[in-house]
């Protein structure tokens, strides 16, 4: 038995899929450098974060490792020149994200000199704040996919004072088929990953770290365990988790390893966990011990259109076309996917640069991709319920979002927890009616978010309007009250006058009468 870091025995998350791995062909060959392409396109964004501001101009000569864009926002990250060269363009370009959405991109034409920026040798960080700052300076973001700036995960607890991260999980469970870059990295750099993990333990002030790997990869655990034993490290354990998609999902992996569920809408910190990808751990090692910012990463180039699938060490910004040519890509590509086949994004063309989060380029010919058949109606078979790792009712969500001929009822979708969907695609995959369910959930989420935004704005406007109305009403009432008082006073004066004059007249009459007598 492995020495389990937690008291609970390994638990399971609900549902999931057993998929064919397709990993071996790309994992077996050693990592090869992709070299320097003729241009690099560095997109200035974290996947869901905020764009960084360029600090270079067109025509500038930049050195390898030089900062070319800095964060203007706590979620923004630094970008560094992956090699020396000349900035040829700073403009909006399609990126390797969802729908190849456009973002500000710095294009560098490499000069082939690989001239490093001379940096003064930094001392190793003394405390967690220095570690976090060095991680930030190196432009490290979560390299597993979501692209969350790495340093934020450790800053959070200082902001809320509540310091409760006890476990650091290093996620080596790449559950999507085809992708093998993390496995390759663990095989090639166990020492670096362990050292990076130790720095991250210090940054999080965690008690222990778990390196989670899937049970279908053989050699990795042995290698990591040997290193841990040699270096007599006791607070890091390597744990195998069952290969069930999406076991590498943050929430699912936490459930498997700790038995706890991250409360809806909260970060893993709520259950005392900080999670980081293995590639991120390696990047942290590079940043702290080699003073090397994040300027390259291992990318799996694979798929049935690729003749020689393997992992490449590619500079950030390397165009897809360059990698595809190196890997001998055939002409029959139907889909070029960034990421895995379950959640990856299909790219419209190959003139897009890889990002810090790009773990895989998947080129699939027509006969390997999902055929474009017209979806049949949902028969409510419930297969989606069985596989949903978030324990949702996908078919009910579809019913309310699709509306079935009537107006859709997105609020019902909210009641059915659409915001807890992690968009893993398991439901779409098993659907016998071939309905692309996740598309519907994405639509509902964005629509509801938009509606909420609009409603919040409308509420604000209404409140403002109501306040103004009330103010006007009050002023009017005050004015009226004043006027009433005045007229009342005036009226009072008149009656007094009348009374006086009446009295005077009476006196006059009386005096006249007496005079007459």
């Amino acid at each position: 038995m492995v020495n389990r870091p937690t008291n609970q025995s390994q638990s399971h998350f609900h549902g999931g899929l057993v998929l064919r791995h397709h990993k071996k062909s790309s994992c077996d060959p050693a990592v090869k450098s992709a070299g320097i392409p003729n241009k690099l396109m560095i997109a200035l964004k974290a996947n869901r974060g905020v764009a960084a501001e360029p600090v270079v101009k067109i025509g500038d000569h930049v050195l390898k490792g030089q900062v070319i864009a800095g964060p203007d926002h706590p979620f923004g990250t630094f970008a560094h020149a992956p090699t020396s060269g000349i900035v040829t363009a700073i403009d909006e370009q399609p990126t390797a994200g969802s729908d190849a959405s456009e973002a500000l991109t710095i294009t560098i034409k490499p000069d082939g000199q690989e001239q490093w920026l001379g940096t003064e040798h930094k001392c190793l960080p003394e405390n967690r704040f220095e570690i976090i700052e060095q991680i930030r300076q190196a432009g490290i973001i979560g390299m597993g996919g979501a692209g969350f700036p790495a340093h934020i995960k450790y800053q959070q607890d200082t902001a809320t004072i509540q310091h409760n991260a006890t476990t650091l999980i290093i996620n080596g469970a790449e559950c999507e088929p085809y992708i093998s870059c993390d496995e390759r990295l663990m095989l090639d750099h166990p020492v670096e990953i362990i050292k990076g993990t130790q720095w991250l333990i210090k940054a999080a002030e965690a008690q222990q770290a778990i390196i989670a790997i899937e049970d279908n990869i053989g050699g990795v655990k042995k290698q990591l365990d040997e290193q841990l034993k040699q270096q007599q490290i006791h607070n890091i354990t390597v744990v195998k988790v069952p290969t069930i998609y999406p076991t590498g999902g943050e929430k699912q992996l936490i459930k498997v390893l700790t038995g706890q569920e991250v409360p809806s809408g909260q970060t893993p910190l709520a259950v005392g966990v900080v999670m980081q990808n293995v590639a991120t751990a390696k990047a942290v090692y590079d940043a702290i011990e080699l003073q090397r910012p994040l300027i390259d990463r291992v990318v799996t180039v694979t798929g049935d259109s690729i003749k020689q699938p393997r992992n490449y060490l590619a500079l950030i910004g390397t165009p897809f076309a360059h990698l595809l040519r190196l890997a001998d890509c055939q002409d029959d590509v139907d889909k070029l996917v960034v990421g895995g086949p379950m959640m990856g994004y299909a790219m419209p063309h190959e003139q897009i640069g890889i990002e810090k989060t790009t773990n895989c380029l998947l080129a699939l010919p027509k006969d390997c991709t999902k055929p474009e058949i017209k979806a049949m109606p949902c028969i409510r078979c419930g297969d989606c319920v069985k596989v949903c790792p978030q324990e949702l009712l996908p078919q009910q969500l579809l019913w309310y979002i699709n509306g079935n001929g009537q107006a859709n009822d997105l609020e019902k979708a909210r009641e059915h927890h659409v915001f807890d969907c992690i968009e893993c695609g398991a439901c779409s995959w098993v659907c016998p009616s071939h309905i692309n369910l996740v598309d519907f959930y994405r639509f509902a989420k964005s629509e509801l978010t938009y509606l909420d935004h609009k409603r919040a704005k409308a509420d604000q406007a209404r409140l403002r309007h109501e306040n103004r109305e009330a103010r006007m009403e009050r002023i009017k009432a005050e004015r009226q009250a004043k006027r009433r008082q005045k007229t009342a006073q005036l009226a009072d004066k008149d009656s007094a006058k009348k009374e006086i004059s009446a009295v005077l007249q009476r006196i006059k009459q009386q005096t006249q009468e007496t005079a007459d007598e």
């Binding site: 590509v333 139907d334 889909k335 070029l336 990856g344 299909a346 190959e350 319920v385 016998p432």
Partner: protein, 352 residues
């Protein structure tokens, strides 16, 4: 140089599951029971299957044309086949031809397409068809054949030849023939018996009764059970509906039986007679007209069982499965609303 690629959304790799395959497995799982039916009650059911399937597909085709739906995907999805086969397993194998035609009209046209076609029906189509037949042609439903096990034993009943069967179904039957070749269904026999103030033990001493249910019937139930296991194994259905339905039937009928076993059937008689086994594995498991959450499925199936037992024990129809299913179909959306499961991270008792 700048090639463009297909940008449809994830998942990008295909799975090999389809509506057609689901329906095909349901049909295959029904086959053992149909073969048993042929063994015990002759080729009547085969003729009824041909009749029902043909009329189901004619109605399906007509409705699709009329609703301007694409023909090919919906004709080939095999859902009409499932409806037809479930229906014929409920009706008498010697029912006249129009029974199947009318039943399929109500199943396919009214219950399925008027509600919006595949996936949108509130009621189980086969049960709608069967309920209409039960009410419209009660007499033809009470005329069954005796099981073949009996034919050798008794002098009073003789088997129908195939040509006689054809005649019977297509041109009606002579009243004189009726007594010679037919027998009541076990549940109908119990009901008539009870109405005539016989006790249950006297009634079940009749030759058409077997160990638990009717002779032959109980074996068809066994084969349905095995077909159901196939569906469970293929993960087309989950355990919730069959287990809840059968267990509730046993548990709910026990107090009645203990209270007065002269009038109320034993729990096992309930299970092995009529449509309970078919409902447990093939009808209450219909996902379209049933509940979606696991808790909902349990409630739905328990409701079917309770209503069936109540109708059998106190109602004016011998069997109540069809009505129980339809009543629960109506309640399914409400049950669904009340049983939305708590997803990951929202379970009560979890961390704040």
């Amino acid at each position: 140089m700048n090639k463009t690629f297909n940008t449809t959304s994830a998942p990008h790799i295909p799975s090999r599951i389809s509506v057609q395959k689901v329906m095909l497995w349901v049909c295959l799982a029904l086959l053992p029971a149909i073969l048993a039916h042929v063994f015990y009650f002759g080729l009547g059911i085969v003729l009824q299957m041909i009749l029902a399937t043909t009329s189901a597909y004619l109605f399906e085709w007509w409705c699709l044309k009329w609703r301007k739906q694409p023909l090919k995907p919906f004709i080939t999805d095999l859902s009409a086949l499932v409806t037809a086969w479930l229906f014929v397993l409920c009706i008498s194998p010697i029912a006249p031809w129009y029974v199947s035609v009318v039943g399929m009209f109500f199943a396919i046209v009214v219950a399925k397409h008027l509600y919006g076609g595949l996936g949108n029906n509130i009621f189980n189509p086969a049960m709608v068809g069967f309920a209409v037949i039960l009410i419209a042609f009660p007499q033809s439903m009470s005329l069954w054949l005796p099981p073949s096990e009996l034919i050798g034993l008794s002098q009073t009943v003789e088997p129908l030849s195939f040509s006689e069967l054809l005649n019977w179904i297509f041109s009606g039957h002579q009243q004189t023939q009726v007594d010679a070749v037919t027998a009541a269904t076990p549940l109908a026999a119990i009901q008539t018996g009870l109405q005539q103030n016989y006790s249950l033990s006297e009634i079940t001493a009749q030759t058409i009764f077997g160990d638990f249910g009717g002779m032959g019937w109980e074996w068809i139930a066994n084969w349905l059970f095995i077909g159901g296991l196939v569906l469970l194994y293929k993960r087309i259905i989950t355990w919730h509906v069959p287990v809840a339905l059968l267990v509730t039937t046993l548990v709910f009928s026990t107090p009645f039986y203990l209270f007065n076993n002269d009038v109320f059937m034993s729990p096992l008689q309930h299970i092995f007679s009529g449509g309970i086994m078919l409902a447990a594995f093939f009808i209450a498991t219909d996902p379209t007209s049933g509940c979606s959450s696991n808790r909902g499925k349990l409630i739905f199936a328990a409701g079917v069982a309770i209503l069936t037992v109540l109708i059998r024990n106190f109602g004016s129809f011998p069997d109540g499965v069809a009505f129980a299913i339809l009543l629960m179909n109506m309640s399914a959306p409400l049950i669904d609303r009340l049983t939305i499961p708590a997803p990951y991270g929202k379970k009560p008792g979890a961390l704040p």
